[in-house]
């Protein structure tokens, strides 16, 4: 059995030796190069684009402006399509924009023979704008007087939804309740995957082929079809290895524009390679969310009624839209069930870069607000915050009526116990009480839960194909994508166990090609092992059945007495090896009696979801005069069900913790208030945390097998990024007594807060 073992990544050797091919490696060196000309105003109407001088640059082939593209609006979000128009994503993008809505919007595209010519010409394109007033603050954007971004959305409100349970007004009438209230702000951050988005397009046999660094090839195919107004079958999308995505590439980015440029140039290959600066500004970012939480609590710490108002900054276009804020609201209402709970979530357009999916999808924001708030309540009550959490957190047996998620085990308490032991919580909590002096230490923690996949909000469907080779090995294909997280390895382990072959005989096909690969939705929502597992199990059993049926012909034994173990056909009654699968495979193909190419393919529609749980403990040292936080230790504990590959799981947690550290302490995109321009669109000024800013990252697991899952697994991809920031914030609070209600807790913020609190 391979599930549960830390086998080597199936792509390890190709990746470390540099043999693995990525989009840019695959593009023809003769490809034309496209460069996008971006808006230099935050809001305006393009009046005129002067390309005369740009066209004189040697090597320029053609320049397309916003007046050269069809008025054909399309949605970009990497969501499964809905055949119900009410559930479809908002179509608000054109290939290029005449009405520009943020500084960095796409106005024109230069196509040239090389990148230097393209860059020179792009700098020479002169765009004349009618400037409009712009707005960047989420609540100011909701005012009647605010500039309107999209006519269809009054007050710039893309969506406003509420949720909750219980009679709130009745609940808060209970005598003796204490009221707690707080406002919390999270920043706009960017994914910073290593490989920027890149794609190239060309025509072949009347089809447009797009090779792209994307998480969602089958979805991109649909969107390219919608954007170009051509049948979806005329689009072929190929996804090679990609250098990370973290949700930015769970969106259709420049694939439609690139396809359009190729189409307009007779199908010549056009490559669009996005720079890091453009990645920061003109791809997607994480929603900044401003949260207002009110809690009504009994003096003994029992939560009675709680309310969250959340204002999510969408930026200029809808992309993933309200899904992020709504997901955060849903997490809030279930984490600490009480008599009555209310959520009130707004997603609002502003003239800022477009917010989309990013690892955690609204939960890092909601957990920062929620878990900071719980800490503040504990301090005000003079209670241990861990006890306060234990008293109120989701109990064993809790069932959510909407998605039928169930808390089957005592996961929270188990995770907390592991984390406390790992960080020596009790001792440090006591040691760090009531410190004085310039340098102080503190310890903090937080808990969270996360969904697995997107059912029942959206479709969950996945397909798998298995093909037997002459030597008894097999190809496995899925529509679910490897994006660096190790999905291919987990899939190979699951396939080997289901079919009964050795791992080295499973050839997982990493690349997706929408003309060849069975349909799947791609990599998002921490769904790969859970959802992919269903298709692998179902297809694997079908495939096995076909092999054993053929084995009956060769062995004259009944199928019910046959099994495949380690690549051999076994008679189960006595364990005898009847023949190697390799012999059967060769015979099946070349048999003069009965030639059969043994394959299996099936689709599984998943109609379940699962709670994934966890917590984070952080220990910090705060240098008050320097306004600096040094992270001394950080521990994440997760119950993501059965671990398919413990080492890969640990690596995935490390990556998420690193993101949480940056979110908590250093990362944020900054904008010029006068122009709306992104100020720090590079990796020097955007303070992505480095290994030198990390202590050793400690990842621990509690393995409670998920009953609804094909292999006992549930989500792990995004959860590690969710609890870190509030744990760090709460540790700083213990160290200094200063509550900081916005992330990142960088020196600029701490300088202001320490002055306010009289520490400086």
């Amino acid at each position: 059995m391979y599930v549960g073992k830390s086998v080597k990544r199936v792509d390890a050797y190709d990746k470390v030796t540099g043999r693995a091919m990525y989009t840019d490696d695959l593009a023809d060196r003769k490809a034309l190069v496209a460069k996008v000309v971006h808006s230099t105003v935050a809001h305006g109407i393009v009046k005129h684009v002067d390309t005369a001088e740009a066209l004189t640059v040697p090597g320029v082939v053609k320049i397309f402006t916003c007046f050269d593209v069809p008025e054909q609006r399309f949605p970009t979000a990497g969501h499964p399509w809905s055949t119900d128009p009410h559930h479809q994503d908002v179509s608000d993008r054109n290939l290029l924009a005449r009405h520009v809505r943020f500084y960095g919007d796409d106005v024109a595209a230069v196509v040239a023979e090389n990148e230097v010519a393209a860059a020179q010409a792009a700098r020479l394109v002169k765009v004349e704008y009618e400037k409009l007033p712009f707005v960047t603050d989420v609540q100011e954007a909701m005012a009647d007087s605010a500039p309107l971004l999209h006519e269809e959305f009054p007050n710039n409100i893309l969506a406003h939804t509420t949720m909750g349970y219980g009679d709130f007004d009745e609940a808060i009438r209970e005598p003796g309740l204490l009221k707690f209230e707080g406002w919390y702000d999270t920043p706009i951050v960017q994914h910073c995957h290593i490989e920027n988005h890149v794609c190239y397009a060309y025509k072949e046999n009347g089809k447009i082929v797009v090779v792209s660094s994307t998480q969602i090839p089958h979805i991109v195919r649909r969107v390219v079809g919608q954007a170009l107004g051509i049948p979806w079958g005329r689009v072929r999308v190929i996804k090679p290895y990609i250098g990370g995505g973290f949700g930015n590439k769970q969106d259709t980015l420049y694939e439609p524009l690139c396809a359009f440029l190729s189409q307009e140039l007779g199908g010549r290959m056009v490559k669009l390679d996005v720079s890091r600066e453009e990645t920061f500004v003109s791809n997607r970012v994480r929603h900044a969310v401003r949260s207002h939480i009110t809690s009504y609590v009994r003096p003994d710490g029992t939560f009675v009624a709680r309310k969250l108002e959340a204002f999510s900054n969408q930026g200029a276009y809808a992309s993933h839209g309200h899904g992020i804020c709504a997901k955060g609201m849903s997490a809030f209402t279930q984490l600490y069930p009480c008599k009555a709970c209310r959520g009130d979530a707004y997603t609002v357009f502003t003239n800022l870069p477009v917010a989309g999916a990013m690892r955690g999808y609204g939960i890092p924001q909601a957990m920062f607000a929620g878990e900071s708030h719980v800490e503040d309540i504990a301090r005000a009550l003079g209670m241990d915050s861990l006890e306060l959490r234990r008293k109120n957190m989701m109990p064993v047996g809790f069932l959510n009526a909407f998605d039928h998620n169930e808390n089957y085990y005592d996961s929270f308490n188990q995770c907390l116990a592991v984390g406390m032991k790992e960080i020596d919580y009790e001792k440090k909590l006591k040691a760090y009480q009531n410190q004085t002096g310039d340098i102080r230490r503190g310890i903090g923690h937080s808990i969270f839960w996360y969904n697995t996949a997107v059912w029942p909000i959206s479709l969950e469907s996945t397909s798998c194909r298995m093909v037997l080779n002459q030597d008894g090995s097999l190809q496995v294909q899925l529509g679910e994508t490897e994006i660096g997280q190790g999905a291919d390895t987990a899939f190979a382990q699951m396939a080997a166990d289901t079919v009964g072959v050795r791992l080295e005989d499973v050839h997982i096909i990493s690349s997706q090609d929408t003309d060849i690969t069975p349909f799947g939705l791609g990599s998002f929502a921490s769904r790969q092992t859970y959802v992919g597992g269903f298709a692998i199990k179902q297809t694997g059993l079908l495939f096995r059945e076909r092999i054993l049926t053929y084995a009956r012909e060769l062995t004259r034994m009944p199928v019910f007495n046959l099994d495949i173990i380690d690549g051999n056909i076994i008679r189960t009654t006595d364990g005898r090896v009847l023949l190697p699968l390799s012999d059967l495979a060769t015979e099946a193909i070349y048999s003069l009696n009965h030639s059969a190419h043994i394959t299996a393919e099936s689709t599984y529609q998943v109609k379940s979801n699962a709670y994934s749980f966890g917590c984070c403990f952080a220990e910090v040292e705060v240098d008050i005069p320097l306004c600096k936080v040094k992270l001394l230790k950080i521990v994440n504990v997760h119950d993501c069900g059965t671990l398919v590959n413990p080492q890969l799981a640990e690596a995935q947690v490390h990556g998420g913790m690193s993101m949480a550290i940056g979110y908590g302490l250093s990362e944020q995109l900054l904008f010029d208030p006068k122009t709306g321009k992104t100020l720090n669109d590079n990796l020097l000024d955007y303070k992505l945390s480095t290994t030198m800013d990390h202590p050793d990252l400690v990842a621990r697991f509690v393995e409670n097998a998920e009953p609804t899952s094909a292999f006992g697994t549930k989500s792990l991809g995004e959860p590690p990024a969710c609890p870190g920031a509030p744990a760090i914030r709460n540790a700083v609070l213990q160290a200094t007594g200063v509550a900081v209600n916005r992330v990142p807790l960088n020196p600029h913020v701490l300088f202001e807060r320490f002055k306010e609190e009289g520490l400086l």
Partner: protein, 293 residues
């Protein structure tokens, strides 16, 4: 692919000067860790370059006959950090340049490039200011020397005339004998960052290690160019080497500095850093000199 109009490779210092005179718009390129970045982002797009990177005669560290420390401009940061003369005479310079960027940049980046860029945040610049470095400049007509203070003219501008290049950075024996120093780079990250404020302090204590005979301090990013804080230096000369003196040092330094507010940090925060860093760096320099606080 870089938008480079032409690249001329110099085969001697004189050849480099001739090339620069023959191509007045050309920029000197050494390691390229700044020039190529600026070329890529468009600021130097279409520029001509004169490369001096192949001139091995401009690499290395030695002592002149009069014990002047001679650091040649193409010496990389990592070579400076590891050089025995640096570790013996001015270890703080080795520590300061070890905080530049990351390992790759420290292997390609040179101290000459770091100073000739004329930027206030350069990690070598405040320490060189604090140790009275002398810049040796060579042109077709010969060699001249300038104090580092005179070398930095304004933000991004140094006192190199057309056809001139920097050929050595000198630190005289009298400026290092008996001094120990400490540099604090205050940045938002522990690697791959530029200084929000940098502060380099060195002291010479009396023989009994109880009194400050001389103290020197220089800042990066406390003004448009790296700068000394003469008031602070004067204020502590002759005072006991203790915490009280360090307090005074930090407070007095504020009379000399003039940081600005930018989106990277506001003036008030930078002033707070100037005071705090001066104090801490002085205490550390006293400790390194054998003083007891």
């Amino acid at each position: 692919m870089y938008d480079m109009k032409a690249l001329y490779e110099a085969n001697s210092v004189r050849h480099a000067c001739e090339l620069l005179l023959a191509h007045p718009g050309a920029k000197v390129i050494a390691g390229g860790s700044d020039v190529l970045v600026q070329m890529r982002e468009g600021r130097l797009a279409g520029c001509e370059l004169v490369s001096i990177y192949g001139l091995d005669e401009l690499r290395g560290i030695s002592l002149d006959e009069d014990d002047t420390l001679r650091i040649l401009p193409l010496t990389s940061f990592s070579h400076i950090t590891k050089h025995p003369l640096i570790n013996e005479i001015i270890p703080v310079l080795g520590e300061a340049v070890d905080m530049v960027g990351g390992p790759q940049v420290r292997n390609i980046g040179t101290i000459g490039g770091n100073t000739c860029n004329g930027v206030t945040s350069a990690d070598s610049a405040s320490t060189l200011h604090a140790w009275n470095a002398v810049m040796e400049i060579t042109g077709i007509g010969g060699t001249r020397q300038l104090s580092i203070k005179e070398f930095y003219v304004s933000a991004g501008k140094v006192a190199l005339l057309p056809g001139e290049i920097l050929t050595a950075i000198l630190i005289r024996n009298a400026d290092y004998e008996g001094y120990k120093g400490h540099y604090i780079k205050y940045a938002m990250r522990n690697a791959m960052d530029i200084a929000t404020t940098g502060c380099s302090v060195n002291v010479k204590l009396t023989a009994d290690k109880k009194t400050i005979e001389d103290a020197r301090i220089a800042y990066g990013v406390a003004g448009p160019v790296p700068m000394r804080a003469p008031s602070a230096e004067a204020a502590v000369r002759g005072l006991p080497a203790n915490a009280e003196t360090a307090e005074l040092f930090g407070k007095t330094a504020l009379q000399d500095v003039n940081p600005r507010t930018s989106w990277r940090a506001n003036r008030e925060f930078r002033l707070h850093l100037c005071e705090t860093l001066a104090k801490r760096a002085l205490l550390k320099a006293i400790e390194l000199s054998g003083g007891e606080i």
